[in-house]
Each structure stands twice: as C-alpha cells, then as structure tokens.
C-alpha cells in the first residue's frame, strides 16, 4: 500500500464523513468487481457497493489498521453480495446458469455473435466457485495486479496463481466450443 493511500485510509477511519468520502473512488470499482463476480448483475452490484461503504462507515471504529482495510472492505462486500444471492436463491429456479445468461442476454433482434459469446462467458463464470469468480473479476474487470488482488482478497503470497490457473482452465475448457464457433463465423 502506498503511503498516501495509507494516510487517506487512516484519516477516513479516524475522521468524519468528508474524510471517508475521499476513499470511495479508491475502492468503489474494486468492490463493484467483487459484487459483480458474485451476483453478475450490475444494478445489484452497485447496490452492494453503496451498502458496503455505508456499513463500513458505520463500523469504521472497529478497524484501526489501514493495511487491513481493503481486505476488510472486500469481505464486507462479499458478505453483502452473498446474502443477496442467498435471498435470490430462495425463489426456486430450475437452473441458475441460463437465468444468469438471460440477464445478460440481449434482445433477439440485437443479438450478435459477440453477445452470444458474452452470454457463454457469464454462464461459464457462474459455474466457478465464488472465490475463483471474484479473482477473475478483479483481474479482468478492474485489471488489478496479482499483488493487489491478493491483498484485496486476503490471500497469502502465491495462492492467487493456483486460483487463477484453475479458474481459467475451467473457463477455457467450457468456452472452447463457443470460441471456436465464433472464430469459425468470423
């Protein structure tokens, strides 16, 4: 963590609302990536981010170490997203993957080959474990480095490699036909 970022976090934890608002841009997109990875819904993910900041502000006194703040924030967001997911699952659904794919499915008349592929990607992502999804999302949605992802997810040094390796392998295997088909179309 950079020194100025550290100071900013410290000020946010010890200070008032204005100080806390200053750290929102630092973490909002990371939190969005985490929430989106779990929920795969932009609006819901945004709600989660808002709720996360609000909750973090309310209980900021519980955390005084700026170093641990990013991981803590991510944990709050993950819990929040998971609870939303649990609530969503209480509505019985026959199959989760198509439903998620539907959420991203564009209307038939606007449907293109790329959109089809996106739907496949999200469908494949939905089948991954939550941790793998979050790692992939942080990497591809936010373009974060390995170190930052590890810090945000509270992983030990090097663990992310294994996670990403397994996640990408699964994705590759499940997307292989779709990619091949699209390339064939192109």
């Amino acid at each position: 963590m950079e020194p100025n970022e550290r100071e900013l976090i410290h000020a946010a934890l010890c200070g008032d609302r204005e100080h806390f608002e200053m750290i929102i841009p630092l973490f909002s997109r990371k939190l969005f990536a985490v929430a989106f990875a779990i929920l795969q819904d932009r609006d819901e993910a945004e709600d989660v981010v808002q709720e996360t900041f609000f909750r973090a502000f309310k209980s900021r006194w519980r955390l005084r170490d700026p170093e641990k703040f990013p991981a803590w924030l991510v944990a709050v967001a993950r819990n929040q997203a998971c609870s939303i997911l649990r609530k969503r699952r209480t509505v019985p659904l026959p199959d989760e993957a198509p439903e998620i794919a539907d959420a991203f499915a564009v209307k038939p008349d606007e449907q293109t080959a790329g959109d089809d592929l996106h739907a496949h990607v999200f469908s494949a992502l939905a089948k991954l474990p939550e941790q793998h999804r979050v790692a992939v999302s942080l990497r591809y949605l936010e373009g974060m480095s390995h170190e930052n992802i590890e810090a945000a997810m509270g992983l030990s040094n090097g663990a992310l490699r294994g996670i990403l390796g397994r996640a990408l392998e699964k994705l590759r295997k499940s997307l292989k036909p779709a990619i091949a088909a699209m390339e064939g179309e192109l």
Binding site: I24, S28, E46, K58, D65, F104, Y140, L160, G162, L168
Partner: protein
C-alpha cells in the same frame, strides 16, 4: 516442479501478467520446447482476450463513483438521528473509558473481596529491610510518604557492607502520612541486635534547635533505645527499641508504639525525653565500653523491666504508689441522730471529718440518711471497726483504686507540656518569620497551656483523693418499712329479686341519695323477653353504711348478700401493732332482678316414636289447660332421630292434669321436680313444665367388643348381614386400612334386648375376642324385651410383619424420590453457583476483551 506439470498455473499467470521476468523467460523457453503447452497458451490467450472484451462491456460507467458518493451522503443524512446503543458502544470502547472501567472493576473486585473476607486494606506502609550498619556519623533520610522503596534504596546506598551488624527495622508511617524518617545509626549497636518497631514523628520546621533532644555522645553506644535527629528542616525522629523478643523491653516498646501513634507535639516531646531517659538508664545498666560483642548485647537485652521502661522518670515504690481508698457501709441503727453524733466523735478522734450528712424521714417517721467521712488512709481500718459497732451491719464494701500509672503518666505529660510551652515561647521570641507562622505558634501555645491546666487539675484531684480515704455510711433506723397506717376497705354485694324492678330501683336510688352516698354506677335495662334488671354501685360513708344496707335489704327478696373487708398497709409492708386503722368508704353493689321464678319446675323426658305429633298434642293440651307456652322446638338429626323441647308455664291447679296428659304421649324415662320453698310462697303460683320428647331412648345395655381377625373386610360384611337378620340396626360403620397393613372396622349396632345375646354370640364367632365390656343400666325398663341395647364392635387385623414403608417397592420408590430430590437440589446449587460466578465471569471477560482490543489497536 516442472513448468510442464503445472502448465495451467503458468499459462494463467502468463496471460494475467503474474510472472516475474525470470519466470517469464523460463516459461517461454519451455513453450519453445513444448508444442502442446504452446497450443494451450495460445488458446488461453484467446480466451483471455474474450474475457477482457466481455468484462469491458460490464465495466461501471464514469459517473459510477459520483453515484456511489452521492448515495453515501444521502444515506448518511438519513441516518443522522442519534443512536444511543451505537453511542454507548463507541463510548465504551474509547481507550480512556476502557481503562477506567477495567480499573473500577478491579477496585470493585478487591473491595468486594475485602468485604467478604473482612480483611482491611493496609493502612500503614511497612518496610522490612536489613541493612548492615557501619558509619556512625551519617544520617539516613527518606520520605516515607513518597515511596518505601526509595527509603530502602537510600538506606542501602548508605550501608557499608563491611559492617558486621545486621539491623532489622520496621518503619511505621505516621497517621498524617507526612512523616519523614531519620535514622541516625549508632555504631555501638551490639552485634546481632535486631532493631524493630518505630515511632515516626514530625518536628516543626521552625524549631530545629528544639528538635535536638538527644545528646549525641550519649545516644551513641546505647543498644536498646535512642532518639535520632536529622538536620533536615522537616526532620523526624525514629525511635526504635531493641529486639521485640527480649522480654525486658516490652514495656518500652509498648510505650514507644503508643507514642508513635500520636503526632501531637506533647507526645513528641515526651518521646524525646523517654528516649533520652531510656538511653541514660541503659547507659547505667550496661557500660558501653565493656559492652561489645553479641554476648554482651544479649546480656544487656535481658535486663529487667524497669530499665527498659523509659517513659517514667521515677519508678514508684510501695510508698509512692497512688492509691485511692474508699469504703461503703450500710448500718441499721436505733436512732439516726445519736449515731450521727457518735460518728462525728469517732471521725475527729481518727483525724478525719464528716464531709456531708443528710437524712430523710419516711412516712412512718423513721429516718434514713447518708454520712460521708474523710479520713487519713492509715486510719481507715480503725475507723471502720469503730463505726461497724454502732449498729447492725447490713452491707460493706471496701475498695482500693491504684492510679499510680495514670498519675505518673499525667505527671510526665505535664512536665513535657511545660517544656513544650517553654519551647514555643522561645520560638515566639526568636521568630522573625511570617505572621501566619506566628499565629500557628500562638495557637499551639494556647492548646498546650490548656492541656497543662487540665493535667494540673487532674493531678490535684488525684492528690486529694489519695490523701484522704472516703467512707460512705448509709444509716437507716429500725422498722423503716413498717406501715404507717392501715386502710380498711369494705365491699358489700347485694342481689335482690323484686316483682317490680323499676320501683325497687327507684327506691334504692332514693335510699342511696338520702344516705348521701356517692353513686358510681346505676343502670336499668330490659331484655328481649321484657324482663327488667338493674344494677347500682355506690360508695357509702362508713358510719351510715350498716344502716343503709339494712334498708336496702328490705326493698325486695334477698337472693345473695356478701361483704368483704380488706386491710391495705400504707407506707410500708407487713404488720404493725402501733399503726392506726382508717375506715375507707364502703363500696356497695346492688343487683335487682325480676322475680318471676316459678315455684316449681318439672323436667320430663318422654320417649315416643312420633315426636312431632306428640309435641303438637302436648302443646294443644297445655293451651287447653290455660297454660302459657314459653318455648318449643323440634330437631331432626341425619340419623332420623327427632328431639322435641317444650316448656310451658301452667297454673298450679292445672299442673297435675297437664303432667298426666304429657305422660300419655309416650314412655316416661325421667321425671324431675324442683321445688323452691320460700317464705311467703303458696302453691297457687304457676309451675314450669319442661318436656323433652325423643324418638330414641338411651340404650339400657352398652357393649364394647374388639375382635382380632385376619379378614376384617369379609368379617365385617358377614356381621352386617347377621345384624340385619337379627333385627339389629347398624348405626354407623367405618373401615380403615393403615400403612402397616393393619385393617380396622368399627361398627355400631342397636338392637332390642331380646336379640342381644344371640347376636353377641355371632360376633364372638368372628375371631378372637380381645376386649369385651358391658355397661348396663338396671332400671325398670331393662327387663323390657324391646329396650334397646347398643353394641360397638371393632374388628381388626394384625399388621404386616414387614410394614409397607419398609417393603422392597417402597424402598425403591423412596430411593428414586430421594435421588430425584438430590438431582433437583444439585440443579438448584448449580443455579446458585452460576448466579455467583456469572457476573464475575462476565466482568472479567469484558475486561479481558477490552484489554485485548486496546492492545490490538495500539
């Protein structure tokens, strides 16, 4: 591990820029060598690009952060209202509050524990430390109130390791807590002597000169007592004495401790003196030059008490002892006055005098008094012997009070106070300091002077008491308690019958008034039956009492009359031949009742099966004979027995006819005639007839039987049937099975006499007859075959050999009951222990949690 074996991780790291330069180089080398891995890598790169594109489509827009911040602000504004729980939690987790809470909890625990165990907090700081003494000139100084450790450090810094003497001392902090310790060592402490106990006192800053009570040259070399002075402005004294285990020093030690308790100037001064004297005494007893080495020290320490009692300047001998003697004697004499004169003579001959004499005359003219004589103590005994001979000795008490200690203590304090006064005066003269200091000294001087005066007065008082013995003689004349007079109280109670109560009452009142009697109470009343009664209570003068009573008696028919006399002694008790007798007023109580008592009263009991009809018939016949029905009633009990009562007042001429009519209604079982023969009566007066009609007459024969049988229930059933067959009526029956297996059936039968004998035989056949009693009333009716007989029968069985309560099942049951009781009890105890422990556990957990949190945050 080779790259090839873990190729998925490697290619994932490669496409997500997770490889270091060195790793990338190794990876590329492997790809160049391995076609399969290269193909996988290519696929992964395509897939990675697909992911990039896919995620780029869902990236938040540029306004995302603004939206988040705005929403944050909005939600926070909505939540502005005060949340007490949150505030409390935050307040409670502030570091200061946490520590304060923890400290408070700890203090509460300590205080609670102290309260539970009844221990006290240490009020005095005690330091035990051993130092080796050496340097004779150095004075050690340490502020006690600051830190005991500091003292120890200072003492240690002064100690000389080469010195061979171990000194153990305790420092008692003065109650003011401002004392400073000054220890001036004396190198002539005998080897191995342990110094313990301390008096720590404050000397005024302005009196350094006065605070030099010890002649240094003298103090040196005294093993068992000393006062040490510091040159510090706020110097203090440490007085210490030799090892407490040495018997001889206990007195001195106690004295020093006592001195140490107070912090007033007087005592301080006395301490100086005491210590000096102790030192001097020690010097005399134990030559310092020769006292060297442990043996000499031991010998010195075992010196007898007097030398180790520094506070008293001169040891009182038997002659100088201050003894207050007094005597109390109680004498019974014939004449107070003559004895008083004799006592005066005796007192003057014994070189004493009568201090006070007082007397009081009792109601019977006898005197009682007290004489106080002051006499020289040496003449007390002879005086007492002579006084005792003057009368009967009833009581004697001779006492001696030894005030030697108090006297000499006060004396010593007085001298010290005087010295203090001098010193203060000296200070006043020399003082050039502030006015407030001067005022302080003046104030102190005032106090000291007050003390001096008080103590002087005390000593003078003691002197007086000691120089003369006090003899208190209580005298009383003989027959002191004899009564002066007797009061004769007379009381007369008269009960009259009168046909006209009202007239008699009026006459009686008039009579009382004419006799000038004092009427205490008068009452006339009429009851619900219209009968009159009256009461009158008067006090009569004794001289006319007899005449009035005689007149009252003529007012009606006298029922009862009695008089009581009582002698009340006045002014004493017992009897006296000489006391006069006074007559008190006579108390006279008169009761007038209506005189309607009939001349004769007849009570008749008739047995008839039809009570109600017989009663009606009797009423009718009584009315027909011009009788008056006074009362009548019929009752029927649950067993079907009826009883009727009828009371009639009949004219005398109709009496016999009515009685005959009544007798016809059934069988007469009793007839009682009561006749009141009085003067002036005649047979024409009405007669009361009281008839009792009953459907059931008393049995002529009453039999009680007890039968032992093994089958009580069956046997009782059988006998019931037999009774029914024998024409016996079952009056009542009970059956009982007792816990021990004993069965008891009680049955009562009523049957005609003719069936009695066979039925009893049947009963006897039931089992073993253990009890048989017959009660028979032999009357004319007894011969009658239909006369009733009553049989009370008890059939019973023996109990079980092993009673139920000792049986197997009841034992098992009891065991379970007790076990469950024990379990419930233990549950209750667990509850109690939880109630004890839980608050403490929670409190401790809270403290631990707070400390842990605080540590984590720092």
């Amino acid at each position: 591990m080779k790259i090839h074996d873990d190729i998925e991780t490697w290619i994932a790291a490669a496409v997500t820029d997770g490889l270091s330069a060195k790793e990338r180089e190794a990876f590329e080398q492997h790809l160049a060598a391995c076609g399969r891995c290269r193909a996988l890598h290519e696929e992964e790169k395509i897939m990675s690009k697909t992911l990039d594109r896919t995620f780029a489509a869902v990236k938040p827009d540029d306004n995302f952060d603004n939206r988040i911040a705005q929403d944050f602000r909005r939600r926070l504004a909505a939540r502005r209202e005060f949340n007490f729980g949150q505030w409390l939690l935050r307040f409670g987790t502030m570091p200061g509050v946490r520590w304060a809470t923890a400290l408070l909890l700890l203090a509460a625990l300590v205080k609670g524990g102290a309260m539970l165990t009844g221990e006290h907090f240490p009020g005095q700081t005690q330091v035990r430390h051993e130092i080796a003494q050496g340097n004779r000139e150095k004075a050690l100084l340490a502020p006690i109130s600051d830190s005991d450790a500091k003292i120890v450090d200072q003492l240690e810094s002064k100690k000389q390791p080469a010195a061979p003497f171990g000194v153990d001392f305790q420092i008692a902090q003065s109650s003011a807590g401002e004392g400073r310790l000054a220890l001036k060592d004396a190198n002539s402490f005998s080897g191995g002597t342990t110094i313990s106990g301390g008096a720590l006192l404050l000397e005024p800053t302005a009196a350094p000169a006065a605070a030099a009570p010890v002649d240094k040259s003298k103090a040196e070399g005294h093993a068992f007592g000393g006062a040490f002075k510091s040159d510090n402005a706020a110097s203090s004294l440490l007085a210490f004495d030799a090892n407490g285990e040495r018997a001889g020093n206990d007195g001195a030690k106690a004295k020093l401790r006592e001195l140490a308790k107070g912090n007033d100037m007087l005592r301080r001064d006395e301490l100086d003196k005491s210590l000096k004297e102790a030192a001097r005494g020690q010097l005399a007893a134990n030559e310092p030059k020769s006292a060297s080495g442990p043996v000499a020290a031991l010998a010195a320490a075992q010196q007898p008490v007097p030398q180790a009692q520094p506070p008293v300047t001169e040891q009182p001998t038997a002659d100088t002892r201050k003894l207050i003697r007094d005597a109390n004697i109680e004498l019974e004499v014939k004449s107070y006055d003559s004895v008083l004169e004799t006592i005066r003579t005796i007192a003057s001959s014994e070189q004493g005098y009568v201090a006070t004499a007082d007397s009081a005359r009792g109601e019977n003219g006898k005197l009682r008094g007290t004489i106080v004589i002051k006499v020289l103590p040496q003449h007390l005994d002879t005086l007492l012997t002579r006084v005792r001979a003057l009368g009967d000795l009833k009581n004697q008490k001779i006492g001696t009070q030894d005030v030697t200690k108090a006297y000499f203590d006060t004396d010593a304090r007085l001298r010290n106070a005087k010295r203090m006064e001098e010193r203060l005066l000296d200070m006043l003269q020399k003082n050039t300091g502030k006015v407030s200091d001067l005022l302080q000294v003046e104030k102190e001087l005032n106090r000291v002077r007050e003390d001096i005066e008080r103590m002087q007065g005390e000593l003078k008082y003691w002197d007086t008491l000691v120089s003369y013995a006090t003899v208190t003689i209580s005298l009383f004349e003989k027959d002191l308690n004899q009564p002066a007079a007797f009061l004769l109280k007379e009381r007369a109670n008269l009960s009259l019958f009168s046909p006209d109560v009202e007239k008699t009452y009026t006459d009686a009142k008039r009579e009382a008034e004419s006799a000038k009697a004092q009427i205490l109470q008068s009452k006339m009343e009429r009851d619900s039956n219209g009968r009159m009664s009256a009461t009158l209570s008067v006090l009569l003068a004794p001289d006319i009492a007899d005449r009035t009573l005689a007149r009252m008696k003529t007012l009606g028919r006298v029922d009862t009359f009695n008089t009581q006399d009582e002698r009340v002694a006045q002014g004493g008790s017992g009897a006296s031949d000489t006391a006069r007798v006074e007559h008190d007023k006579v108390e006279f109580n008169l009761v007038i009742a209506h005189d309607d008592a009939s001349r004769r009263q007849t009570n008749l009991t008739i047995v008839t099966p039809h009570v109600e009809e017989a009663l009606d018939a009797s009423k009718a016949s009584a009315t027909a004979q011009h009788g008056e029905i006074v009362s009548s009633n019929v009752t029927r009990d649950p067993q079907g027995r009826s009883t009727g009562q009828l009371t009639v007042r009949m004219p005398a001429d109709a009496y016999q006819a009515t009685l005959d009519l009544f007798k016809k209604s059934g069988r007469v079982t009793s007839l009682a005639v009561q006749r009141n023969d009085r003067i002036g009566d005649n047979d024409s007066e009405p007669v009361l007839i009281s008839v009792t009609l009953t459907s059931e007459e008393n049995p002529v024969q009453q039999t009680n039987l007890a039968v032992l049988s093994n089958h009580v229930e069956q046997q009782s059933g059988a006998i019931r049937q037999a009774a029914a067959a024998a024409g016996a009526e079952l009056k009542n029956s009970t059956f009982e099975r007792q816990p021990g297996g004993v069965e008891v059936a009680n049955l009562a039968f009523r049957l005609p006499m003719k069936n009695y004998a066979p039925f009893v035989e049947q009963i006897k056949a039931l089992g073993k007859v253990t009890n048989f009693t017959v009660h028979r009333e032999d009357s004319a009716d007894a011969a009658n075959e239909t006369a009733p007989a009553q049989i009370t029968l008890q059939i019973y069985s023996r109990g079980d050999i092993v009673p139920d309560e000792n049986g197997v099942w009841s034992t098992v049951r009891r065991t379970f009951a007790q076990a469950s009781g024990a379990i419930l009890w233990s549950v209750r105890m667990i509850g109690v222990s939880l109630a004890f422990l839980l608050p403490w556990t929670l409190g401790l957990a809270l403290v631990i949690w707070m400390v842990a949190r605080a540590r984590r945050r720092h």
